[in-house]
Symmetry: C2
Subunit: 101 residues, 2 copies
DNA sequence: AATACATATCGAAAAAAGTCAATGTGTAAA
DNA sequence: TTTACACATTGACTTTTTTCGATATGTATT
């Protein structure tokens, strides 16, 4: 039996336009928050909020280095999301139509 | 250049616990709304709202038959979501670290 | 030790999403 | 042509999410 709340959390990473824009940027390689911020029309605290959601979902990982935090797409997190998507949308072996009551 | 709003819409299907529970049920085969409703702790109007979001995302399709609407997971919609997920999480060929400002 | 910088956290406001009861619409049976 | 049923839509309310400015925290430089 799946934990729907935990599963939903993974996909929340992809449910916001700003987060998709962030992911788009990270596809080109690791970026620190200050660089991401330069390309977005949001405040620093809002960016920090989105990065937290992205990291909590497992799709992004942060690497602290001195004053900076470098973010990148997590290969394992992405694979897990794909696995989950497969799981959620694939018919079961015994799939059949259910009669109305 | 991707349409982030449209992409986000696809993944919203997977961002709510009730919708994940609905998908879980549909994995076992096509179900009409009344059957889904029997297994959920939500009102009929709320279910209708969720089915609209699921259908709008392309993950679910509805088939009207007399008084009933039979819902099922769309194979093509699911494939599209997988394709999108791949697109959003895969590094580009030229991926590289970007220096801080 | 003082300052500057990068990022996180807090608290409040605004926007979006989820929820329900009531009502509307379309279909079939009586 | 009533009546009953299945589902959609509306409007109001609640909850969650997004957003920002202000402030805190940690790190490096002067």
């Amino acid at each position: 039996m799946r934990n729907h709340a935990a599963d939903a959390k993974v996909f929340k990473a992809f449910c916001d336009e700003n987060r998709l824009q962030i992911l788009q940027m990270l596809r080109n390689g690791e970026k620190c928050a200050c660089v991401l911020l330069e390309h977005l029309q949001i405040s620093q605290s809002t960016l920090s909020h989105h990065m937290k959601i992205l990291c909590d979902s497992g799709i992004v990982v942060g690497r602290k280095e001195g004053k900076w935090t470098h973010y990148s797409i997590s290969a394992s997190g992405s694979e897990y999301a794909k696995h989950l998507l497969e799981l959620l949308t694939t018919q079961t072996d015994s799939a059949q139509q259910t009669d109305c009551k």
